[in-house]
Symmetry: C2
Subunit: 255 residues, 2 copies
């Protein structure tokens, strides 16, 4: 493939901004390149004040569906030249949001290829770990309640496990969202959030999980490990980064 | 200032891509925000295969002035809504490049405010460290030969020190550019590059430097410290991130 045939990658980066940054870093890390010029073209639009909170919508705390903002930002990326795009936010993949984005894109005649992070993750697990049966998921309460992972993984013969409800609402969700110690506020330096998330991992392990999906793109900032003892850690943002490179130019995907 | 009065930040991110990513991270780290929605709007265009190498041009190894690509990318950012912009690449600030970009912007009637990273750094040093006299600079050979830092710092009464020529060409420049162990190839994981750069720091210390400027935006990836023993480490990318926030919305600049 000639460099000029490479497709331009667009990233809806504001959901949240640290997760957007993390995806951009993962795209660079997964690209085969020795010089600046060998890297892919990536346009990132981080416009968080125009992107309503995804969990707040799914929980009915606001009527404003973030789908319209995501669609708008995808259109801006397409006008700027992006041919493929993604949003590194698990909760945005809940059908009440994602399906509306897809319908809007279709109605507008958009040509952009909008990847589905969680479908990519489900496919990756099936190919990479065909023997896995019991998978734990750590996520926001929006993703938890919307059942995004169970709905995509269980038809593939996988059992999904989640933390019990109290742990979810009192520890896991605040680890992501708390204005003082949450990852959305502190990025990589959220130590107390890490401790809460590791409690979640322990809870999933006790339920028999063989692997754990970091099902919110903020979580890998606090848990960068790819293994936690014998537990496999699956980061959908890495899988998404690799899917974007595969679509832009498969020859540049690191083996 | 109302959120709607905030200006949109544009980043020419492909020079190199890891440095672009690093600037985006520094903008987030230096912004006062507890939620996603409080962060500023940032558009990053990383189009490295359209951005010729800056040092290669300054050394006469190519006739292609990267100024035209930078101008073109600034125009794309302006069309996408950016009101202020910057390029996190010290070498791009050499007058044979930067002055041509400015002339092109003026000729095109551009309204974008294109910040000058090295002028911002010079001003920062004067305000923050008024007693400093002897400042070492680590950089690419392009920045080294173009005398960008001496030309801006010496009129302010500062003496600039650089590594001796052999160390510059055999150790410092390869630490940035080497296709196998350089920072442009490996990002944050360039351990051998770090060792070479620390040799440069030691050389500057022996010459009497009281501070050292990481005068290539790849260098802070390998030297994240803000102090090295008694030596002050100055990172122009942090200063640029803060200048962009100041221009976008000064109320969101961390104290």
């Amino acid at each position: 493939m000639n460099q000029t045939d490479e497709k331009v990658i667009g990233v809806v980066g504001g959901a949240g901004p640290f997760a957007g940054l993390d995806l951009l870093g993962k795209i660079l890390q997964e690209t085969l390149a020795e010089t600046d010029q060998e890297h892919l073209t990536v346009i990132s639009l981080s416009q968080p004040n125009q992107l309503p909170d995804r969990t707040a919508f799914l929980l009915g705390q606001t009527a404003e569906n973030p789908a319209y903002a995501i669609f708008n930002q995808l259109q801006q990326l397409e006008r700027a030249g992006a041919a493929i795009a993604a949003i590194p936010c698990n909760t945005a993949h809940a059908p009440p949001i994602f399906d509306v984005v897809m319908a809007q894109l279709q109605a507008a005649g958009s040509q952009i290829k909008f990847l589905h992070m969680i479908a990519e993750t489900a496919q990756h697990i099936r190919q990479q770990y065909p023997r896995l049966r019991r998978i734990g998921v750590l996520s926001t309460t929006g993703t938890y309640r919307a059942q995004i992972y169970p709905d995509l993984l269980e038809p593939k013969g996988l059992t999904t496990l989640v933390p019990d409800k109290q742990l979810q609402t009192e520890v896991i969700h605040p680890a992501i969202y708390h204005p003082h110690y949450g990852i959305k506020a502190l990025g990589r330096h959220a130590q107390r959030a890490r401790e809460g998330l590791l409690q979640g991992v322990e809870n999933l392990r006790q339920q028999g999980a063989e692997a754990v999906i970091l099902g919110c793109t903020e979580i890998p900032l606090a848990i960068p490990e790819t293994r936690l003892d014998e537990l496999i850690v699956i980061d959908p943002a890495v899988i998404l980064a690799r899917a974007l490179i595969r679509e832009a130019n498969p020859l540049k995907l690191k083996p």
